[in-house]
Amino acid sequence: MDTQLKLDKKIKDARSRKFMKAVVKYKALLIMMIPCSIILFINSYLPLFGLIIAFKNINYKDGIFRSPWSGLENFRFLFSTDAAWRITRNTIAYNLVFIFVGMVISVAIAIALNEIRNRYLKKCYQTLVILPNFLSMVVVAYIVYSFLNPEQGYMNTTILKKMNITPIKWYDEPIYWPYILILTKLWHSVGYGSIIYIATLTGIDSQLYEAAIIDGASKWQQTKYITIPSLSGMMIISIVLALGNIIKGDFGLFFQVPMSSGLLYGVTDVVDTYVYRALITLQDIGMASAAGFYQSVVGLIMVVIANLIVRKIDKEQALF
């Protein structure tokens, strides 16, 4: 018994000695991490006490800590209508499309851009493709509206007219909207998303390509065996982190762009628009926090699972 304790203590001592040794050895690296650690602590960790708002029946006089607990009451509204299934399905399905299709296009843009020899054109394309990202979703919504508006919209007054198709009341017809939303989102984000891949491509060692050319590799083979593997790390990290937001809908996209038309909710309603509608008149921070907390937990689970899978395939690329 006594020896066991002693042994434990010894192991503990050895561990802490090892820890201290590591701290000393890597003190320079640790010092490097201080500024950002402090920033993260202030901006993210200090406010984390706000999470308990989700479990409280808040009153402002007692403040966050002394207000009474309310258990899971604040979460109930999320699941109490038959829209619960609809919003979950929509949010996840759209996000999956955005994540994967968006990434494929972004990577394709980066690779294609790399193959353009005219430097002027290259710079020109690179500038133009990120422009949509500068328009807020509200403005995007108006541009889409100028195309699809039933009375003056360009689609109805010009394009469909020329094709002799009767005008369509776009904002009354849900069947078109998955395509419209996906197109809008991709248009808005793929150019911007390609920036990190372009940067990664510029970092590839040109000797790799030289060696491949000497071996007689075709352009396609070079892309397949050198370019894409070089981008894979960046692609994986993007996917894993994006999965953490799988159940957060882009509010601007789903609320503004369909002009909150009630007829379209079947295909445009996501968690964030639902929460907005529920709480706009109630202004209840408890319920709003509950919604956020729920989204975070789902995100956490997704990231952990994704990370496990990545770990299985290639330990190097795993996040933790």
Binding site: L30, L48, G50, G203
Partner: protein
């Protein structure tokens, strides 16, 4: 340079790629032109004909409205530029310093700091808690720091930088530096940084765009117009316009004293032009000095 020619894609492929880019670029640039055009169109022409690429009736009303107090706008430009420069510089420096140790295979505290960072990406205490921290604990309200601190750092960018480091810095490079007897800091500045410039430039760009487009910090933490940022001013103009429209129709009788004309739709577009115009115009400039210049540097190495 010559081998580059040898390794070029075929003529047809090049035509297809260029064609694709021209189409996509048009899809990206035309809506922006539409925005500019609408901002110069008179309100009644918009009501009559909808949006069009060439103003049916040219008008500067929207800009008149936005620049009714030009002193305020130019001040806001100043604040925004200051905040953008200081904020994105602090951001990029701290993020890079955090990402580097994470990328080192031999760094024993890697997983702890990875998780420390990941949690910030997944969980947020919410606006109320952040507001309390920034106002009550840090006392940032109505200071320029309120525009900078809440947006510092960024988990996504750090992970991206880390991934790039992992890919592009061979451990032999670091080992060689260690054998040389260079300290960690010297290794980082003299050996590592030159290799990773492309990703740092890109993340700096993200950070710059982020600060430039942020309007919520100014909305929540600033109540003296002297410190308003440009985007806040623009956002506010729009909200005020909505409110004025709603309330004036039945609440205010001194309408005539207030404003003759409310060019709503054109103002919305003019706001975009005033708000993002400068940064869009500056982007090719950045690009020239950042990404492309660096590309040449790194390809050589």
């Amino acid at each position: 340079m010559k081998k580059y020619e040898v390794n070029a894609v075929s003529k047809t492929a090049e035509i297809i790629i260029n064609g694709g880019f021209i189409l996509f670029s048009l899809a990206c640039v035309l809506p922006l032109l539409l925005v500019v055009s609408v901002s110069f169109t008179s309100e009644s022409a918009i009501m009559d004909f909808g949006y069009s690429f060439i103003p049916k009736e040219f008008s500067l009303d929207a800009y008149d409205f936005l620049f009714s107090d030009s002193e305020v706008i130019f001040r806001a430009y100043g604040v925004t530029i200051f905040v953008t420069i200081v904020g994105s510089l602090i951001s990029i420096i701290s993020m890079t310093l955090y990402a580097y140790p994470l990328s080192r295979e031999d760094f024993p505290f890697k997983s702890f700091f990875n998780v420390y960072l990941l949690i910030t990406l997944l969980f947020s205490g919410g606006l109320v808690a952040s507001y309390m921290v920034n106002v009550t604990i840090l006392g940032l309200k109505n200071t320029v720091w309120a525009l900078i601190v809440p947006s510092l750092g960024g988990g996504f960018s750090i992970f991206v930088i880390r991934t790039y480091f992992k890919k592009n810095i061979p451990s032999e490079l670091i080992e060689a530096a260690v054998i040389d007897g260079a300290g960690e800091f010297r290794t980082f500045v003299q050996i590592i940084l030159p290799v990773v410039q492309p990703i740092i430039a890109s993340m700096l760009l993200f950070s710059i765009f982020g600060y430039w487009n942020n309007w919520t910090n100014s909305l929540y933490y600033i109540s003296t117009p002297k410190l308003y940022t440009l985007q806040h001013l623009m956002q506010q103009a729009m909200l005020n316009l909505n409110f004025i429209r709603q309330s004036f129709s039945d609440n205010l009788s001194a309408m005539e004293n207030f404003m003759k004309l409310l060019p709503e739709q054109s103002v919305r577009m003019a706001m975009v032009v005033v708000g993002v115009g400068p940064i869009v115009a500056a982007y090719p400039f950045f690009q020239k000095y950042f990404i492309q210049g660096l590309t040449e540097g790194s390809v050589k190495g």
